[in-house]
Each structure stands twice: as C-alpha cells, then as structure tokens.
Assembly symmetry: C2
Homo-oligomer: 385 residues x 2
C-alpha cells in the first residue's frame, strides 16, 4: 500500500539532469534561481544536478572562465552549456569515395574532407582510406581524437543494430563485414553504422530540401536503388534494418534489372557504372532514340518502385538523390506518374545536398545519439501502453 | 542575456501535472511526501498540482471517500487516481455490421454490443444503427453519456485528420462524408476517426497476436484490401492518412482486381461479397480445380501486395485479418513467398481478435488520446532537431 512504483532514483536523476541541461542549452547563461523557476525543480535538486553537469564537463560557471574582473558583492553565479565539450564525426563509405564531416555538440560543422577510392577496392583498403581522411580532417581542425563523443557512418547495404553489414552487394567484401566493430578499433566513442539512403534522408531533413517536412522518403536512385524514410521526423529503419530496400521490388512480377533497362545494347550495363549511365542520359538528351527509350524504361521502373513506397508510407515529400540527381527529366515524369497511381500523391524534389548528403546525415545521427544521452527523457515519463 | 527560453509556464504546469498523475496512476495510494520524493518536484509544486487534479476530478483524497472511521492525530493524507472519472467508446462502422466497446480510464472493457447492417444501407441509416448500439450499450452498463472522455471510430477509407472520409468506396455515400463532424453531434467529447485496418493493427498490438512486437503490419485481406502499420509501437497513418492503402498496388503492372482473380466464371465477383468468396475457398478445399486455381491466383496477389509493404516497412510481424482470417491455407504460402522476395522475411500470423479487432483498436485510440492529454510530456522536454 502507498508504494510509488515510478520511483527509480537513477532514472529520476537522469530526467532532472536532462531538464536542466535542456534549459541551459536553450539559454546563453542562467543563474540557479532562473533554472529553479523555469524547471519547477527544487533548489537543492537543481544545485545537485548542475554540480554533476560541471563535473561531467558539460556545463561551466561563466565567471569562473573570465580571469580577473570579478564584481563586488558576490553576484549570482551564471552557468552555460559547453558546445565545445565534445565533437562528432559523420562518415560516408561509398563505392567511389570516402568522406568525413566534423562538428561540435551544437552540430556546427567545423570541417569536411573526402578521397576517391576504386570501386574494386577490398574492404581493408577502403577502411584504410577512410582512416586517412579522418586523421587529416582532425589534424586540420585541431581537434583531438579523444574529444569525439560519437561517430556516424553511412554505407550501402542492410546494416544490423551492432553495425554488421547483413547484406551489401554494392561494395566488395561488404556482406558480413563487422563494420561497426572494425571502426570501433579506431575510435574510443560509440560508432553508429547506418544505411546510406537512410543517412541521406536524415541529412535532407536536417539541412537539405526536406527541412519543412517530417514525412519524407529519400530515394537513392542508382542502378541498385535504395530508399530511406523519415516518419514524424524520425528515421524508419525497420525491424531488421531492411526498410526501403526496394531493390528487390523488381522481383514482384518485373524481373528486369536497371542494368538491363538502361542498356542500349544487348548487354546489360555494369552495376555501379555511373559513367556509362551518365552517357546514356547524355545521348538521350542529344536525341539518340535508343538512349531515350532506355531512359524511359528506367524512369518507368523508378516510378513503380517509388509508387510502392509511397502507397505503403504516404510521405509528404519524395526526394530523389544519388547519381540521378542533377539529371534532367526525372522529376516531371515521376510527379506525373505518382499522381496516376497514388491516392494522395506526394511532392517530389531533387536532393539539395548532393554528394554531401550521406556524410552529413551520418553526422546528424551521431549528434542524435549524443543528444539522446544528454537530453532525452522521452518515453520515460509517458503513459504505458 | 541570461534568458531561459524553455520557460513557458503553462507548459511546465502541464509537465509537472503529468509527472504527478503518472506517479499516482502507477501507485494505489500515495502521500504528498511520497509524491515529492519520487518526482523530485518541490513540496509547494506538488501541493498545487494535486489540488488542481482534485478539482479536475482525476484524483481523490482516499480518506475523504470513507465516511466516518477517521483516525486520530491527523495521519498523512493519501491520494489515488480515479479510473472511474471518465469512460471511452470504441466504434466500428463496417460494410456488414456496426459495433461498440466501452471502457474506463484504465482501459478495462465494461461491455460490448453490435448490430448487423445491410451493405447497401445509406450513410444516415448506418449512423442511426450505430447510435442505437451505443445507446443500448451505455444503458446496459449504467454509464452516463456525459462521462465519455473520447470516442474512437474505425471505418474503411482514407480519413482526414478532422474525421472526414477523403475516399471510401467500400460503403455507400462514404467518400466525402464528414464522419467526425456527424458523430460529434452525438457526443460532447473528442471523436477520433481512423481507418479500419489501422484500428485493427492497434488492437492486435494491445490485446491480440502482436502484443510482443512494436513493428507490425496488419493486412485486412478483403476484396478491397487495406493495411495498417505500427512502427515502434505507434500507428503510422502517413502524411495524408493514406499509408497502407495497398488496394492501388495492382495498378503497378498488374491490372487484375481480386474480384476477377477469385472468380471461377468469366464474371468478376461482386465487391465485398464475402459469401461468394467463402464459397470459392470451400470449393477449393473440396478439390474443385477451378476454385483451387482462383484461390492460388488470389494468394499470389496477396503475396505481392504484402511483399511491397514488407520491403518498404520491414516489420517484425505481419498479421492477416479480415474475412481471410480463419480461411485455411493463406499463412503457409504467404510465409513461403515472402521468404523468397524479402531480404528479411517477417513472421506471419492470423488475427487473434477477429471480428472484435476494429472496435477494440478504436477504443485504444480513444484511450491514447485521453492519456496523451493526461500524462504525456513526450516531445516537450526533448532535444530540438
């Protein structure tokens, strides 16, 4: 009788800590009195929490920073959030390039770097290339590796929660690669591995063409197409990380692959051969009828795949990226055909971030991870189902 | 300088109120001291919040209820949550029947009722039939209409946020019907209208075959199939409420409707003719080759539709309901074919709730709405994106 079962003390400490940190991060500077008033917490609770945050290096007393110039009469102490207390990396490991972006705890981007890599490069060579890019970037920015709080990684394939690539045919030696584990050897902080289309969706929502919507499907329209979805502003990975893997949709009664669809000869194009694809599109623009027919077939296939996604998910916006971005003539037919097939056709737009999308999204995922630890109380004080 | 921007006082009052109510709901009885300790809020804050909750009728002082038998020496006052402070209704409006379920604020079901209705009945007649069912149910349970806090409704079609049916071909006069507005005339509380497959998905997750997973697709496998999805335990409606409307998928290169697929003559079956469908399935079981071929075609079509949903969403579990539930032979081929098409095939199960699924899910949605108002602080103190 009279037992309050909600009373996990460590959970409550975490909630109170998050509330105070959130208030401090939203303000420039705040006194203990102001924090007490805004949060509704008791003065001793606020004092305890702020002390803990200072010990963790996340908060600093403002006066303590400024040497000298102390005012008389012991003015109220003021505190601020330290965005420089940690850093994040976003990495892309793609078929043709590896790339990295660096930010502080407020998500302010401090630098980027990238290097080309052969599409035939084995996994070790690809990862070594990535390590070089990261080392260069950190050195140039003057940030110590020990300051990294989390690293996000975007790469093709279905990725398990632990960062193992369950299936990834786009890169050599990728299927079965314990990518998270391999990268954790280079970093002392959490490493989050994510499908590249998923990362790109997050990026377009953060800083790209999808900032005004929370319901967006990003289609990475390559020869091996994939898709990433945000639902209510959150990434939808699916139960096994396989959501949006529309590459298999062509098995549903349409056995033809994009490599065959886009070919203007009897031989299918080589998978990932972006150069050959760009040529087909260029020839089509120049009036080559065979190329035009190939592009038309490709667009019909893209429409079908995207329509199935739209029917299942009903997004507000579809963003098309990958090498199809920048190619003329994809948007208009996509929009027109979706209007035919879908009860509520979505808006359609090209990627704004282009090549930077995957690394930027990976960075945002790393930042999300850190913010979740620092700020999240979500799901802890809400109703049980 | 020094401004704390998180300081919306009404929001903070709401958060504190939710925290206290949540703690009280989890406990049988609690004193002010216990609430103060568990929540970390100050004593004056807790006193103010509890007073407000008593005024709102949601909390009662335990001693105050018991007439006489007051103990000496003013023992600490104890408080409890009043589950009987309000009631919820879940309604189903289907092609062949209307149904209702009634519960208290803890979701305990107090009674159910239903009536058959002609599939040709116009909207007015169908709604009048529903009103009779509701009036009977309330009278039998001895619950005043004024005690209703929210009403959930499940019905076929794409439903707007305001409860207008954007598109609903399964019921006469349904497309364009302001269903929410019409029902709000009968109730003084919020009325939430939801697609029937969505409601059924919620029900299976709450009390059916999907209680052990948060990632489930419910397929209402009728002649006009629809689907509802839970992602991370939350209903996924889509941006325009059209998510899962896989009925249009057959336009994607397969122009054949289920009515044609299941026909054993040259004429398609009448839409919604469940009797004729049951006959075809029965004949198939008896060895009729034409019927077996029809069922085989129907199952292939179902597999294709479900596979597209699974590729887009990657659920842990697919639940099959509607009139296909109970029919032998759907699960096994569905499971086998999904394993062929999907990179990560989901589990497949038949609906546990059967006919009760839609009304039960509608009730849960009404309860969610009330709980959100009472308890939710989610999204208010978490990190900005």
């Amino acid at each position: 009788m009279g037992q309050l079962t909600g009373g996990d003390p460590s959970l409550l400490r975490r909630i109170n800590s998050a509330v105070v940190l959130h208030a401090l991060r939203a303000a420039d500077l705040a006194t203990l009195t102001e924090i007490t008033r805004v949060t509704g917490l008791s003065r001793p609770t606020v004092e305890g929490v702020v002390e803990g945050l200072i010990e963790a290096g996340l908060v600093v007393e403002s006066d303590a920073e400024e040497s000298g110039a102390r005012r008389q009469g012991r003015p109220a102490r003021k505190f601020r959030f330290r965005a420089e207390a940690g850093h994040l990396l976003g990495l892309e490991i793609g078929p043709h390039r590896v790339a990295a972006a660096l930010s502080d705890l407020d998500g302010k981007i401090l630098g980027t770097a990238s290097k080309d890599v052969s599409e035939a490069a084995p996994a070790d060579e690809r990862l070594e290339r990535l390590r070089t890019v990261v080392a260069d970037l950190l050195r140039r920015a003057g940030i110590a590796r020990s300051s990294l709080r989390a690293v996000g990684v975007g790469s093709p394939g279905i990725v398990e929660v632990d960062g193992t690539v369950r299936l990834g045919t786009a890169l050599p030696e990728w299927t079965g690669l314990p990518l998270g584990e391999r990268l954790r050897r280079s970093f002392k902080c959490p490493v989050l591995v994510e499908n590249d289309a998923n990362a790109a969706a997050v990026a377009e929502h953060w800083k790209g063409v999808a900032t005004d919507t929370d319901d967006v499907v990003f289609v990475l329209a390559g020869l091996s197409p994939g898709a990433g979805s945000l639902i209510g502003g959150r990434l939808h990975r699916g139960y096994g990380g396989a959501a949006g893997e529309i590459g298999a949709l062509h098995l549903l009664g349409r056995e033809v692959t994009p490599e065959t669809l886009l070919s203007t000869t009897d031989e299918p194009l080589h998978p990932l051969d972006e150069h050959a694809v760009a040529e087909v599109f260029a020839h089509a623009r120049e009036g080559d009828e065979r190329a035009q027919a190939a592009v038309e077939r490709f667009i019909q296939r893209l429409v079908h795949d995207v329509a199935a996604l739209v029917l299942a998910l009903d997004p507000e916006l579809v963003v098309v990226g990958g090498w199809a971005a920048g190619l003329d003539g994809v948007l208009e037919p996509l929009h027109r055909e979706l209007a035919r097939y879908c009860l509520r056709p979505p808006r359609v737009a090209l990627s704004l971030l282009g090549e930077a999308a995957v690394a930027t999204g990976a960075l945002r995922l790393a930042l999300d991870h850190v913010e979740e630890e620092l700020f999240a109380v979500e799901g802890t004080v809400t109703a049980r189902r």
